[in-house]
Every structure is written in C-alpha cells, then in structure tokens.
C-alpha cells in the first residue's frame, strides 16, 4: 500500500503510460475477441495465419501483465514485440518513447519515499544531453539491424543466381531450409558481433582502470584458445562428412559379399545395426571435442581409418589383380563409390528435411 498520495499518483501515472503505449492493440483485441471466441477451433487457424493479429493479442496480454505488476521487463518484451504488428517489421517509436518515460517515472517512484520535500540538482547541460543520447542509440541500433537484415536478405537471394548447371547444388542452395539456416546463423553471428562491439565501445567511452586491470589480470579471460567459429555447425557437417565414407567402406565394400546372399529384410537389419554401431564407436572416440587431450586417441583413430581405407581399396581390385592389389590399391574405384554415396546421402537429407518441414508447415 503506498504511503502517500503523491506516490500513488506517480504509480497510477506510470501505469497509464503503459496503457497509452498499447492502447491500439488492446482495443483491437477487445473488439475482435468475442467474434473469435464464437467461432471455436476455426478461429485458431485464422489466428495463426495472421501473425500480426496474434502478436497484437500477445502484446495486450503482456500489457495487462505489465499494468498489474509494473515490471519493466514485461513492458520491454511488449515493446520489442510491437515491432511486428505491422506487416513488415517497423520501428515502434511511440512505444519506445513511452518506455523511456516509464523508466524515468519508475526510477522516481522507487526512490521517492513520500512526504519528503527534496530537490534534485542537475546541470542544465546534463538535462539537454539526456534527450538526444537515447534517440541516437535507437537510431544507431535501427540502422545496424536494417543493414544486417539487408545483408542477410541479399545473401539468401543471391543463392538463386547460382548457375543451374549443377541441379543437385541448385536444389540444395535454393531450398527453404538452407535459407532458414543461413538467416538464423547470420542473425546469431550478427548478435554476437554487435554485443562485442557494444562492449568495446562502452570501454572506450567510459574507461575504468579497475575493470580494465581486473579483465587484463584474469588469465582465463585473456588466454583464450582459438575456437573455430560456428563450431556446432562444423561438428554436424563433419559428422555427416566423416560417417559417410566409413559407412560406405564397411557396408558397400567390406560386407557386400556377406550381404549379397541375404534377404532384403536381413540386409536392412544388418546395415542399420552397423550404422548405429559405427555412430556409437565414433561418438565414444569423440576426437573433436578435445583435440588437446586426446592426441593418442586421435592418432589411433586416424591410423585405424587409414587401414580401413587401404583394406577396402585392396579388396575392390583384388578380383582383377590378385596379390598385386596389395601394392596398387584401387583408390580411384573406392572414391567413385564414396562420391556416389555422398551425393545420395546429401540429396536424401535435403529431400527428407524439405518434405518434413513442408508437412509441418514451417515452409510453404
């Protein structure tokens, strides 16, 4: 319970700001909600096909939550979401300005204890400064996000200009999944870069020797090992690239005579078991996670892989050359088989993912 009437007035004023910021969305929701409730389940379909309307409803729920609790986190989320109420993402300037006003009022409310008469001493120049700085910040971040969006869109659109001479590549590069992945990766990377640049700018604007010395004397923070960028993406692609030849060598070259006489069902069972076993073995060796500790493992694994490749190559040309195959293994033939499997594998994966996402409705 607020102790003074002044404080109460301030709190009511801060809540009114939230109400004013999201007045339009709340009225829209209140007007259309009864109609939607009357329609039952089919309303859900309309809701999800019209994203901006869905976001309007979300914003009004958040606004009600912000009005009742007065939490500025909820308000901030609502402000960010309000960028998507237009058909194209737009700048919610009114909401941002009301958010800034709300922050000022909120600060006064939390520090004001009521019935105390006090004066705040500020220089005139500080008051003048406090207006353009937030606006410059908003302007800068808007420009940066627009540039990043432009870059990502142009990269995604550029993939269609790839010559159609290679149909498989064309399918992969123009598929919706590739576009979604490229956009996601671009956004995550841009966010990381922006965060780092912000940190650097903050240090340059407001240098503090205490923080600087703490950071510089912190060994773990300074002596970072170089970690390749997009490591998770590399792992996935490396796993896909590495497992395929091993799988091909084991199933299509070494075990082919064994599998020939069996029925299709047995063949499938054996290949599935082999595949799972291979994955488990490769996962337990885990050579990528820590190359500095597992040097011995790395050496053993690479030697084993080389021996496997050599045996497979010898076996491929053994029927033609006899014992001479030991000195002249058929690497050419082996690479052709592996290449064929690579292409099969990639097209299968892309087709599977595309079909699956089409079924779910992620992409049109």
């Amino acid at each position: 319970m607020p102790k003074s009437i002044n404080r109460l007035v301030l709190i009511i004023f801060s809540r009114l700001i939230i109400l004013a910021a999201f007045y339009k969305e709340m009225v829209l929701t209140l007007n259309t909600l009864p109609i939607f409730l009357g329609r039952g389940l089919s309303a859900l379909y309309i809701l999800f096909s019209n994203i901006s309307y869905l976001i309007s409803i979300l914003i009004s729920i958040l606004a009600v939550a912000a009005i009742t609790t007065g939490s500025f986190y909820v308000f901030a989320i609502a402000v960010i979401l309000s960028a998507f109420t237009c058909i194209k993402p737009c700048l919610p300037l009114i909401q941002i300005i009301s958010f800034l006003v709300y922050l000022v009022v909120d600060t006064i409310v939390t520090s004001y204890r009521g019935l105390e008469y006090t004066s705040v001493k500020t220089r005139f120049i500080d008051i003048v400064k406090s207006f353009p700085i937030p606006l410059i910040l908003i302007l800068l971040s808007t420009i940066v996000t627009t540039l990043v969006t432009f870059a990502i869109v142009s990269i995604v659109n550029m993939s269609t200009t790839i010559p159609k001479s290679n149909p498989r590549l064309y399918i992969i590069m123009t598929s919706h999944i590739t576009r979604i992945i490229v956009s996601l990766v671009g956004i995550i990377y841009a966010y990381n870069v922006a965060r780092k640049v912000g940190e650097i700018t903050a240090v340059f604007i407001m240098p503090s020797s205490k923080t600087a010395l703490y950071e510089l004397s912190n060994d773990e923070d300074i002596n970072v090992m170089f970690t390749p960028i997009f490591r998770w993406l590399l792992y996935i692609s490396l796993a896909a690239i590495l497992y395929t030849p091993v799988y091909t060598i084991v199933l299509d070259v070494l075990l082919i005579d064994l599998l020939k006489g069996l029925s299709d069902l047995m063949k499938n069972i054996i290949s599935a078991i082999t595949y799972v076993t291979l994955i488990v073995i490769c996962r337990s060796l885990d050579i990528f996670s820590d190359p500095h500790l597992g040097v011995k493992r790395l050496v053993i694994t690479s030697i084993a892989l080389l021996i496997l490749v050599y045996i497979a190559a010898v076996k491929l040309v053994f029927p033609y050359y006899g014992l001479g195959a030991i000195t002249s293994p058929g690497f050419q033939e082996l690479s052709e088989i592996i290449q064929k499997n690579y292409i099969d594998f990639s097209t299968t994966v892309i087709t599977l993912i595309t079909t699956f996402s089409k079924l779910i409705g992620v992409v049109p």
């Binding site: 590549l169 870069v193 780092k196 640049v197 650097i200 240098p207 503090s208 020797s209 510089l216 960028i229």
Partner: protein, 78 residues
Amino acid sequence: MSKLVILRKSLLYLLPAISITILALSVYLLLASVGYMERGFIGTSLLSALIGFALLSASLYIMRLAAYVYAAEKTASG
C-alpha cells in the same frame, strides 16, 4: 624510459593497428566470398567466408584487449 614502459606505450597503438588490419582482411575475404558465390564456386566461397568470420572474431577480440589496455593507461595516467 625502460623497455617495459616503451612496450606498454606502444601496445596502446599497436593493438588497434593489428585489429584494424585483421578487420580489413576479414572484410576483404567476406566480400571475396560473395564474389565466389556469384560465380558458383560454392566450396571456395564457404571456405573464404569461414576464414573471414574467424578473422572478424579475432579482430574483435584484439580490439577488446586494446580497449582494456587503453582504459588502464588512460585512468592510470590521468
């Protein structure tokens, strides 16, 4: 001035210089990657993009160090 002080003073300019050089290199590689992509060299394009991104990260990291060195120098002398 002892050699250590000279090194400290030179680091103030050396680190940003290295960082900006690497930044320029990374921007060049990223642009080259776009060019390769347009000509249909997918593999080369991806590789150069990867190197460009790695160099960009390295440049940002060096710039961060430079910022902290600057902060330490600035407030120590002033």
